[in-house]
Amino acid sequence: MRKCSLSKLTDLFQKINESASLYLPATDNAGGAVYTKWADGVEYLDVLNTVRSPKDFFFPQSENLMEFKLKGKNIEILDIREESEDFVIFGVRACDVKSFEVLDRVFLSEPVDSYYQNRRAHAVIISMACMRPADTCFCTAFGIDAAEPAGDVSAWKTECDLYLKANTEKGAQLLAKLSNLTEECDDSEVSPLQEKIRNIMKKLPLEGISLENFGKGKTKEYFDSPLWTELSEACLGCGTCTFVCPTCQCYDIKDFDTGSGVIRYRCWDSCMYSDFTKMAHGNSRNTQVERFRQRFMHKLVYYPENNDGLFSCVGCGRCLSKCPISMNIVKVMKALGGEKK
């Protein structure tokens, strides 16, 4: 384990930024935080969650896939892919680190998505333990330890120091580059900190929420539940929950006619939108009840079914704090799980 005084944080960022672009949470000037490319003057903001999750780095909201040139009856296909630059993401919370695993299983399974893989391969993730989790946090339900976040490098922040521990080869290489700014240390400072975090986690209002009733093979049990109608009653059908979610990965592919060619781009899509499954001759999910059900069934049943029981939710709590009508996965889990009738 290495340690670095917080007073040298800027030097540390400077050093990281020399070899790879550094991104970290900074103010969005509207009360929230957003991952920002570090430059002199950009302050690291130690907030719990950024509004947008870091999935943007690997799966951006919109990205151009290819271009076409059209001439008469002829088409030319232009492959516009470029090698991603190396980059480092600093300050990723344990839940968000876990979300990368969820995304990996989709995009890196055969056939591999080269756009995603390209950026994923060039990133080094420095995670950050959560000193002050929020009431909306429920990562513990998914076996995530906020006191021991994963990632290439794990970090802990005390009053005056930053502690760094490499978990992977990539992480070790990065820490080696920072050896001049850091000093070797043991975990005597970090252990009590972890203890403290774990104690706070135990006091979370959503601590103890159970996933026992969800996962593989539960499709039939919940699909026809009358509760869906009740739960989705107030749903506006907006895409807030899906767009702030670190694990929502559904996308749409669209064409944009620029006048001189066509850009085919991919953008986030939301199962909450009415046209998500609309085809020329009909829609298999015509009502908001069905669309609402799809989102939660996907996270709690379908995804685990296809991915060895791994849930497609990491308990980051973004949907809890951002849903315009305060309907969210926790309420769904509790209602379906029978805690509240």
Binding site: F256, T258, G259, S260, G261, I263
Partner: protein, 144 residues
């Protein structure tokens, strides 16, 4: 010395009954106005949805002008009165968003006013040329 070759692209939405005929008359009378004014004929000036104007800017227009019948002369009785309110509010909103207010204009041109049409276009083109390229409402994907 370098000569400034910049010529603004202007989209003019012209009402079928007055302004389009006015443009026709300007042509018949051999009155000059810039070739970079692209006329789009609409059944009435009130057919112009705010989205049309924004789309024009997206697709590379540097200025957008809407021409309709003089108030009171609308072929459909009152279309241009609605246009007047809509455009007043839209132009004000675009200005509020920091889009140069000189880039949009609403003008009444009758079928008999070929000269006014040409003069309006010349003046508008000059005003927009002075502003330079539209940078604030552009879509980079369309710039090639």
């Amino acid at each position: 010395m370098q000569v400034n070759e910049y010529k603004p692209l202007i989209v003019a939405f012209c009402c079928n009954w007055c302004s389009y005929a006015g443009a026709d008359l300007a042509g018949n009378n051999r009155l000059n106005y810039p070739a970079d004014v692209k006329i789009i004929r609409v059944p009435c000036s009130c057919r112009v949805n705010p989205m049309f104007i924004l789309r024009a800017f997206q697709r590379g227009a540097d200025g957008v002008i809407i021409c309709g019948c003089h108030p009171g002369d609308c072929h459909y009785t009152s279309g241009n009165y609605y246009t007047r309110r809509r455009m007043a509010l839209l132009f004000s909103m675009l200005d509020f968003l920091g889009i140069e207010r000189e880039r949009t204009r609403l003008e009444w041109v009758s079928a008999a006013e070929g000269a006014k049409f040409a003069a309006t276009m010349n003046d508008f083109a000059e005003t927009v040329a002075a502003l330079g390229e539209n940078k604030r409402l552009e879509d980079l994907r369309c710039k090639k």
